[in-house]
């Protein structure tokens, strides 16, 4: 467990030094929101139906950027081999990467959400629920995304392959998170069904990923 923290700390330290990934994720997320606003016109009638979708498209697309780099950056000086030579379980590498990816996602989201609220003029009456949904959705996304990021790292055209294989798998996360976010924004709080799906999704994929990860990064 402590080894996972060390791996995550190493990733984040290196990331915060350049902020390359974080900046591009942030700007990309903001761009998605702005471009959708342009595409739908300044005052679309059904904004309440569109807004949650826009938010989650921004999260997942920006998250995809981070995930794609997560293992690719380890390839640069052969660091992935160096990491695999360390006397730790493969699952510790997975956990470490999950942690660093989650932190990056959370930071991106903490900046994107206020901008989103201002641009679309929402007042959040129940920030706790919103935070809970964003957290669960992000975790589900990162659990699967980190595994598939490792899967594509040694593959031809990995930049193209990762979105193609990741999006169909995270359909349940996107659907549930968008539905729940929509309900929260419109003031209804009946989001139990979505929370159950997101929770189950996260738990199942986390366990499966831990079991299966060693097959993914074997050479």
């Amino acid at each position: 467990m402590k080894r996972c923290l060390d791996i995550a700390r190493k990733d984040l330290r290196s990331e915060f030094r350049t902020k390359q990934m974080l900046n591009s994720m942030l700007i990309f997320a903001l761009l998605v929101i702005v471009i959708f606003s342009f595409a739908f016109g300044p005052y679309p009638e059904n904004i309440d139906q569109l807004a949650p979708g826009i938010l989650w498209v921004a999260f997942t697309f920006a998250g995809m950027l981070g995930l794609a780099r997560s293992f690719a950056s380890e390839k640069e000086q052969g660091c992935l081999d160096g990491l695999k030579l360390c006397p730790v379980d493969r699952s510790a590498i997975y956990m470490g990467k999950v942690m660093s990816n989650t932190v990056l996602m959370f930071i991106m989201e903490m900046i994107t959400v206020p901008v989103f609220i201002v641009l679309f003029d929402y007042s959040i009456s129940n920030p706790l629920e919103l935070g809970c949904i964003i957290m669960l959705g992000t975790l589900g996304f990162v659990f699967v995304g980190t595994l598939l990021s490792a899967l594509t790292v040694n593959v031809r055209a990995r930049e193209i392959l990762l979105p193609v294989i990741l999006f169909p798998v995270i359909v349940p996360v996107i659907i549930s998170a968008v539905l729940a976010t929509g309900k929260i924004l419109s003031g209804t709080n009946d989001i139990w069904a979505e929370i159950r799906i997101l929770g189950a999704y996260g738990a199942i994929f986390f366990i499966v990923a831990l079991l299966i990860f060693e097959y993914v990064i074997e050479d």
Binding site: V144, L147, L148, L151, N154, V155, R156, A157, L161, V164, I165, F167, P168, V169, V171, P172, I175, S176, L179, A193, E194, I197, A200, Y201, I204, F205, V208, I212, Y215, V216, E218
Partner: protein, 222 residues
């Protein structure tokens, strides 16, 4: 033995099944008891196709798990063969579905839960085939594909739940026609016929793969 008998049984069952679909007795009745148009008979193809795609993807899952456990190449052959057939059958579901939908609801595509799930399945296993085609080295291809074959299938039930919640936001959809009596038998015969067709295609694909493996082996020896 099975390679000789299976195609014949499949052919005979298929002919019987198709004959039954177009027999007058298998007409489908609407909610008010009226006989619905002939286009409704595509339902007899649609449902078995959907069943076979689920079966095929389940076999991909089982083979993938077995491959990771044993690292025996034949499981990988099973998985890839089943996935290819599954994608084709699932594609046919996505073609027959809208044809049916057009005559029931007047539009080709309504985001109804079953069709939406079929679409997600198709995307998942198209992605599975993408994984296979982007890795060259056979051992790694088999291993990564097996991982994705497991991940893809585990997500399916959750996709169903979430799509069902999501679809209730849309105008309620009534599936056309009630079936009972004779049409049920027609449907069952068709499911049997298509399952046999799947088995036949599967065995053929596996033996093609085995032959190409053998050719590679012989090439290596030369």
């Amino acid at each position: 033995m099975i390679k000789k008998v299976l195609p014949r049984i499949t052919l005979v069952t298929m002919v019987i099944a198709i004959y039954m679909i177009f027999s007058p007795a298998s007409a489908i009745y609407g909610p008010a008891g009226e006989v619905l148009g002939a286009s409704f008979r595509i339902f007899y193809f649609h449902v078995p196709l959907a069943w076979v795609s689920y079966l095929a993807f389940f076999i991909v899952f089982v083979s993938s798990v077995s491959y990771l456990r044993t690292k025996e190449q034949r499981w990988d052959v099973f998985a890839s063969s089943s996935a290819e057939i599954g994608v084709i059958f699932c594609g046919l579901v996505l073609i027959t579905g809208p044809i049916w939908a057009k005559s029931v609801w007047g539009v080709y595509w309504l985001w109804d839960p079953q069709l939406t799930c079929a679409l997600i399945l198709w995307l998942l296993y198209a992605a599975y085939l993408m994984v296979r085609s982007s890795v060259q080295e056979p051992e790694r291809k088999a291993r990564l594909a097996a991982v994705y074959g497991i991940i893809a299938f585990i997500g399916v039930p959750l996709s169903h739940f979430s799509v069902r919640i999501w679809a209730t936001l849309h105008p309620a959809v009534v599936r056309g026609g009630q079936i009972g009596g004779y049409p049920v038998y027609v449907l069952l015969i068709n499911i049997l016929a298509f399952t046999l067709l799947y088995a036949y295609l599967f065995l053929t694909k596996v033996s093609i793969e085995e032959m190409s493996e053998e050719i590679q082996h012989l090439k290596r020896q030369v």
